[in-house]
Subunit: 361 residues, 4 copies
């Protein structure tokens, strides 16, 4: 993928800074005739929206999306879909301190090293606020893959994992952590609140499963479905790790332990396990596609950290502003959006190459 564009056939281009007037996404290559209004997008933005409870940043953004092009009488026309979200609650004065000194773990120093200077207000382009555009675009991508259901949820915060025995899909939307284990959600509430009060932060692991993906999506060799997912997830702010299916655990077992045996079934093979996470050779197998994503703890903490300023002098910084104590929580809707974007793109790509009987003799 290239700079600010993601995808090959269904392509999203995003723009906008944390403290600019607005941000947005262009979705190009979307099939025509799909029903689409702002109401199809807004719920996904609302799920990602900040300021909804004490476990996320207190920045208040309505994140109201406008569809500026690409639809006519409520349907997609096949032309580029322009989505715009205005920024409302900007407090640029919060960032006076970081204008000069680099926040360790943030993109501050790297952006200056690359571009020579940077828009320091709220992290500028490197702010997680950009992910609102991805979530909006992901809502459009979902329309392209109506056969697929995507679940994203948090399975671990600060090293405290859910109990898989108590996995309850209905719990996911019933707590502010997208947690499928009610007991874990309770423990996390205490832990995240403590981190917030201390000005500290916690890492998290998000899992995402796509049900209904048929066998055959994925474009080997350098556009494999798992490679696309890896890029999509690693490109989310604060993500440092991605695994498919059993992931690193598969690296620790034998071939016998990692086998996914197949048996005949009424609608294609029935698999005896899903260690592979629904992908073999870079192509979907018809099993659920499973990806797990590791988010580092938010780098913005109140504890002073040694750093340098723009002139290279020693400095010390503690990040005030308004931040998520655990950025992985609000990462879950972003992970789901990227899953939708990857799958929709691969579906159309598959259709391009293998899409019909009209060529074969």
């Amino acid at each position: 993928m290239s700079w600010n564009t993601f995808g090959r056939v269904l392509r999203m281009t995003t723009w906008g800074e944390s403290h600019g007037p607005a941000l947005g996404a262009i979705i190009d290559g979307c099939p025509p005739g799909l029903l689409l209004t702002e109401a199809d997008i807004q719920p996904f933005l609302d799920a990602r929206r900040p300021g909804q409870n004490k476990f996320t940043t207190q920045r208040q953004e309505p994140d109201a999306v406008r569809v500026l092009s690409g639809t006519f009488e409520g349907r997609t026309t096949g032309t580029p879909i322009s989505l715009m979200i205005e920024n409302v609650d900007q407090r640029s004065k919060d960032y006076a301190e970081v204008a000069n000194a680099y926040r360790p773990g943030h993109a501050d120093y790297a952006y200056d090293a690359k571009y020579g200077f940077r828009d320091y207000r709220g992290g500028g382009r490197s702010s997680a606020r950009e992910t609102a555009a991805r979530v909006a675009a992901g809502a459009v991508a979902r329309l392209v893959i109506p056969e697929v259901r995507i679940h994203a949820y948090v399975v671990e915060i600060g090293g405290d994992a859910i109990d898989r025995e108590h996995f309850d899909a209905d719990a996911i939307d019933a707590n502010p952590f997208w947690c499928p284990d009610r007991a874990a959600a309770g423990r996390w509430a205490a832990a995240v609140d403590a981190a917030r009060r201390d000005g500290s932060s916690l890492g998290a692991v998000v899992e995402c499963v796509a049900y209904g993906v048929p066998a055959g999506w994925g474009a080997p060799i350098y556009g494999k479905l798992d490679a696309d997912l890896a890029a999509a997830m690693m490109g989310i702010n604060a993500v440092k790790a991605v695994e498919i299916g059993d992931g690193f655990a598969a690296a620790r077992v034998t071939g016998e332990q990692n086998a996914d045996p197949m048996q005949p079934g009424p609608q294609g093979p029935v698999f005896g396990a899903n260690h592979a996470g629904g992908i073999a050779g870079g192509i979907s197998t018809g099993q659920p596609v499973v990806v797990r994503v590791g988010f580092k703890p938010t780098s913005s903490i109140l504890t002073p950290v040694d750093t340098i300023d723009r002139e290279g002098n020693a400095a010390e910084i503690r990040t005030r502003g308004r931040h998520d104590p655990c950025v992985g929580i609000r990462g879950a809707p972003v992970v789901a959006a990227m899953m939708a974007l990857v799958l929709a793109d691969q579906k159309l790509l598959h259709r391009a190459q293998c899409g019909g009987a009209e060529i074969a003799p």
Copy 2:
């Protein structure tokens, strides 16, 4: 990246099947004037070459590379560099059984589901043999980044990890496992040999570090350096997991524990830690770039596994052929090649956008 092409500015396109007459790579966008002959590429292919000891597949391939275009009088001309490696030791009869039944964990079923049929000889295009082309292309990419040194080594086989206290860079090339811990290499020899004799297989974790990457490489938002690395690594055969820096471990700690403090240094900042693995906001920070890659155990095992045949009937399969008992071992040179390709591409991409004073007023 798109299908069989990897990269944006420095772009590699590979072709070829396991049992076809040859395989190869085209490298496009390479800067002109670089010294390049077959001798610059062959050592990297030799490192990946099969059949060199009992711990890898016994297929005997000289993997002799020819440079068919793109150089003149020993230098790159800026035109496409065509590399070709002939296949020599093909035993297609080994694959009679797999022509009909799907090997679980292999790409067999997925390829059939996607394309309608497949070249089953040795896995066809999905064979790890394709990675020879990547290694050859990676050797060219290294010429583009002479300032960078890349080390790739195995840190874990079958769940048995190296002892970081005994890390010895000189040991890496001195054992058949690219293992930096001599004691672990000894244990692995026994374990891999046992797996080989039993017709079993083992997973592995490869670590790769690039030294000398300056701050500023990486193209946010959807061409981040870490996202590129994730795609590059996840696209290698048998890889199921990728992490940058501390990776999943970072998801289990607090912001204080994960901080990489900076202090002034004579040539830019000196970092107090490298939890980030040398990348922030998708851009290199000047620290070593660190990636870790999880390889599943080879799916080809002698233990019979339930499967189905092309007609959908129940079947049982045990994979004979010649296979690596631990495909991660030979993965190390491939990981290094992909690191080189990603870095070289990002270097040129950075030069395109930020490459000189001749634009700025």
Copy 3:
């Protein structure tokens, strides 16, 4: 180029319909540090703006551009630059008739055939109004190539060509036809006014010359500078022909007549002619880059034309609405913008591959 994105390294993505709320462009890959405000863009939009005299459509659009992202304190940051232009003067009722019947020569039928339906208001996405976004993006591209001066002017309307003997560069901005020959401008005024009054239309030829392009820009084989220009120009609404240098005239002469001899000069070669239009082998030679572009007459005419309606029945249509009697006139600023976009992209591409001494040994 792909769908709604143009360029490789400096990439423009445009969006918007003739009668939607707005239209815009995202410019990605722009070097950082360039001075950029709305004031750098607006004059180019003003030159293309409709409704300025009786020779163009009477639609009144202020075409006021807003920069929504990608700059900070008046300079480009290296992140995507989002430009937006609101539509103001829409009279969708003008288009009731064309909702059902296809206007011959317009994109109406083709869009329906492709997408199944279309936004018929003002031509929707196929409207020449989209070129406002290109002109805005072109203004940004010009900042990337300060060494280049671009002149675009009309050399022929309705078969009446300028007299090259009377070419006067100062005349170009002094008449509503961008005509470098004052006498021809007078004749054209009469002809275009007559066509306007009759509800007829006229074709035109635009010539564009870029001075100051150094030798070496262009990316053979499939990204040649002339191939890029051909695509850029042919993609402009109503364009049916493109030629470089002498173009079709070169096809009618001998090699001796078409030679561009070279002699030594103080700053590189001095050429005895420029039949080649400044490009050889797809690469600039240092001479002025010359392209000529043929615009068909506007298809919207008052004379009734046989057509069919959406149900396939015979119909007759005469296009009312507000239209340019000679769309080629307002095409000149668009041709100039596309020239700037192509050159800026090729400059950065050249810099990526051949941009410095830091690689070569």
Copy 4:
């Protein structure tokens, strides 16, 4: 398109120099299951092959193509198709003179200016010999569009045009000029032979028509079918001009004269004319797609021309070697191949976005 790759979904990457060991093409994204052997490609190469009569260069190249990957049991597998053609008749000594001095009109000076040096043997990568790879790839592209018939023929040599009244499609293959007018073919034989004997050269115009293209192919705005054709044709060696349908002639008439009226027909609209050349708004209309391409006279002539050498000193050059006296003649098969590649790519692209009912609700 990017450097040495052409196409978006069906993508061709070519490599090779005039005097290297071989040249070739990789075709990626080809649908699986198509019948393909060398015998499907060779006839197209034979049509382009040099040395077949006195009107083309006397270089003797068998141009025998090998399919090195991407097929299995005579069918395409969906993986990259690698085609290779070995160079046989190289006389590098012919080029000793041009190693130092630049041939005006050739790419010599531009390549040196771009890359710092060049492979001067036979023009290296800039040689028209590269088009053999395009012709081979075009033969594969034709398999993707079995519904389309492509005719390419020469309509003008040295300013002497065919008489459209005497157009005879059966004549095209019956003379060495691909000329549809037997009388013109006779005149051209004399003119080209005279040019050959004099060491001079002549320009030519090639016309190409694709029958059977359905309405709906083309990807507005920056991947329009006509824009793709313009890039494809302008990128062919020696081409300086491209027009669609009436092209420049359309710029000289009124809207009434240029109208293509539509009437109801049994299988879609029946058009009363085809001034548009089968494309409106960048999308095919169902009419024949018509493109005309202007080739300059070969720059290699025996008449001495002023030039400079690599050190910038004045020199004089007359090009010996073996050259086509009218390169446009052998351009016809290349034009046809590029037409096939563009149409096949756009067909698959259309299928990706608009390819089926399975998405729309």
